[in-house]
């Protein structure tokens, strides 16, 4: 696992945009499984602002990746590129060796909870079943209900099944969203600041649940977080991002003074380095 650099391959990028298979990573004679996340010199502009520039990385199966960086660093934009919601103007992004967005059923996504509309009439079981049906359910079928119950149980939230989403606390809502992401048994779990707005205990429950799921299934986890201590403790790879990659490696390699100072631009992260 290393930042990928080299000349951009326009033909390969064009093939990816056409929805065909992305080029296999360079390697030995045996055909290796493609990396779960592959980004090559990704560049994104939103209006006049350069949000991502020359971002290259490869994440192998079974990795727990934490993406850290200051506000406005492009972390959420990177997640959107990985999900296929944003097409980069430069470079290319592939998941499981295919163009990003080609296989939503293999990805479990947990969005930032602040986007949730509390006026929407829905129960937790309906939300979880969207992870199976990929559309809003009129009636949750018996088989969907069983799978959704199992997913809620996995995250310790079986009692929430019939509860209205509007009445859930931040931590309960986060568990419901996590159950929605896990119900389809994804090979990649992508989380965008999942701990924002939840208390300390709920945050650590979340990390434990993710580690347990990863241990059971061998899935890859990629999580945007502001919590450098959580990144150090739970992740086995950390991407330090501020528009461009400032560090990509093990927590010990990149959660260090020079790397963080380059990304954050000040020394306010000392408390996190104390862990």
């Amino acid at each position: 696992m290393s930042p990928h650099d080299g000349a951009p391959n326009e033909q390969a990028a064009s093939r990816e945009r056409d929805g065909r298979r992305a080029p296999a990573p360079e390697g030995g004679g045996r055909r290796a499984a493609p990396p779960v996340i592959h980004m090559h010199r990704v560049g994104v502009r939103l209006g006049d602002a350069v949000v991502l520039e020359e971002v290259s990385l490869e994440v192998a199966a079974g990795c727990f990746l934490a993406i850290v960086g200051p506000n406005g660093a492009g972390k959420s934009t990177l997640v959107k590129v990985a999900l296929g919601l944003l097409t980069p103007q430069r470079g290319h992004a592939a998941l499981f060796g295919e163009v990003a967005g080609a296989h939503p059923e293999r990805i479990g996504y947990v969005p930032q909870l602040k986007t949730f509309d509390r006026t929407f009439p829905a129960t937790a079981i309906e939300l979880v079943s969207t992870g199976l049906r990929r559309r809003w359910p009129g009636r949750v079928t018996r088989s969907e209900r069983e799978l959704a119950r199992a997913a809620l149980s996995r995250v310790g939230a079986e009692r929430l099944e019939r509860r209205q989403l509007a009445r859930l606390s931040g931590g309960e809502l986060q568990r419901a969203y996590l159950a929605r992401a896990l119900v389809r048994r994804p090979q990649l779990v992508l989380l965008d600041e999942p701990a924002a707005g939840v208390d300390y205990l709920a945050e650590h429950d979340l990390y434990d649940l993710l580690e347990r799921y990863q241990g059971d299934t061998g899935a890859t986890v990629a999580m945007v977080t502001h919590d450098l201590a959580a990144a150090r403790f739970h992740a086995d790879r950390v991407l330090v991002l501020n528009r461009r990659v400032h560090g990509f490696g093990t927590p010990d390699e990149v959660l260090c003074e020079p790397c963080l100072e380059a990304a954050f631009g000040h020394r306010g992260h000392h408390h996190a380095l104390a862990f």
Binding site: G101, P104, P121, T130, R133, R135, W136, G138
Partner: protein
């Protein structure tokens, strides 16, 4: 004549049929209008229909279509529908491609459409008989629905109900969380354009019957009442359609019995049902708090 006797009259039967069809369309559409916080859209598109009617009336008069043997061609609605459609697509484009919010985009089209409507209606010679008064356009004339009008409404209802029920799951998902739906392959920008287009056609056709001013209420009040007493989107959809149909039938009956314009009695019935729903919602909340 008694109410039961009145139901044997052809014009009353056409009014009931047109009212029920409009109620079903508005009840279904209203769920997405209310949950997407687009209540102003109904008013905006209804007023766009007014601009389209003005343009239509001017075209009919100035091109001699008023003397056409084809009834529909003498009606400005065939220009109001594409005009409203253009306005809806314009609002969707502004929402998706600029930093302006929905209400600003709708406000712009609203004002321009009313100005166009007033402009065109005022340059039509006053002695021309369009068979449609300005009051009819503003407040509707459900009792004067003709058989061709009813067939047009039936056609629009068939297409719009097919779209809204067929795309219900994807529309619901995108309404709940647009980003989440797109990560699951739902093409929500296209769905939004289709939803707006559907709303434009339904509103333009229905405005002739229930009036421009009251059409916005049709899209909002039954769905808002349904939201107050529903625990799921499916329940909200079913209750919204039922309340729209019930208020239409009750409003028409009251209109006949009290001899007042039907548009006002329909909307006032909807408002009464909203008050009942709000009271039930308070009781439900109080019950839940005690548990």
């Amino acid at each position: 004549m008694s109410l039961a006797g009145a139901l044997h009259l052809a014009f009353m039967q056409r009014a009931v049929a047109a009212g029920v069809l409009i109620a079903v369309m508005a009840g279904l559409l209203g769920v997405f209008v209310v949950q997407r916080r687009l209540s102003f859209l109904g008013a905006g598109l209804a007023h766009a229909a007014f601009g389209g009617m003005g343009l239509g009336a001017f075209v009919i008069v100035s091109t001699g279509l008023l003397a056409s043997g084809v009834g529909l061609l003498r009606h400005p609605v065939w220009i109001a529908v594409p005009f409203s459609l253009m306005a809806a697509l314009g609002i969707a484009w502004v929402r998706q491609h600029t930093r302006l919010s929905s209400d600003t985009a709708i406000g712009v089209f609203f004002a321009v459409s009313v100005a166009l409507g007033v402009f065109f209606f005022s340059i039509i010679p006053p002695d021309v008989n369009l068979g449609l008064s300005l009051m009819d356009l503003l407040f509707g004339s459900i009792l004067s629905v003709t058989r061709p009008d009813l067939l047009v409404i039936l056609g629009v209802a068939a297409v719009s109900v097919a779209f809204l029920t067929g795309a219900w799951g994807r529309l619901g998902y995108a309404t709940f969380d647009d980003e989440l739906a797109r990560t699951d392959g739902v093409r929500s920008p296209l769905l939004e354009v289709l939803l707006f287009a559907c709303a434009a056609v339904v509103i333009a056709v229905s405005s002739v019957v229930v009036g421009i001013i009251l059409m916005a209420a049709y899209l909002v009040i039954p769905a808002a009442s349904a939201r107050l007493v529903s625990r799921s989107l499916l329940q909200m959809t079913v209750v919204s359609v039922l309340l729209a149909v019930l208020s239409t039938l009750a409003g028409l009956a009251l209109s006949y019995l009290l001899d007042v314009p039907s548009g006002s009695t329909i909307v006032l019935t909807q408002a009464a049902l909203f008050v009942v729903a709000a009271a039930l919602s308070r009781r439900q909340k109080a019950g839940a708090a005690r548990q």
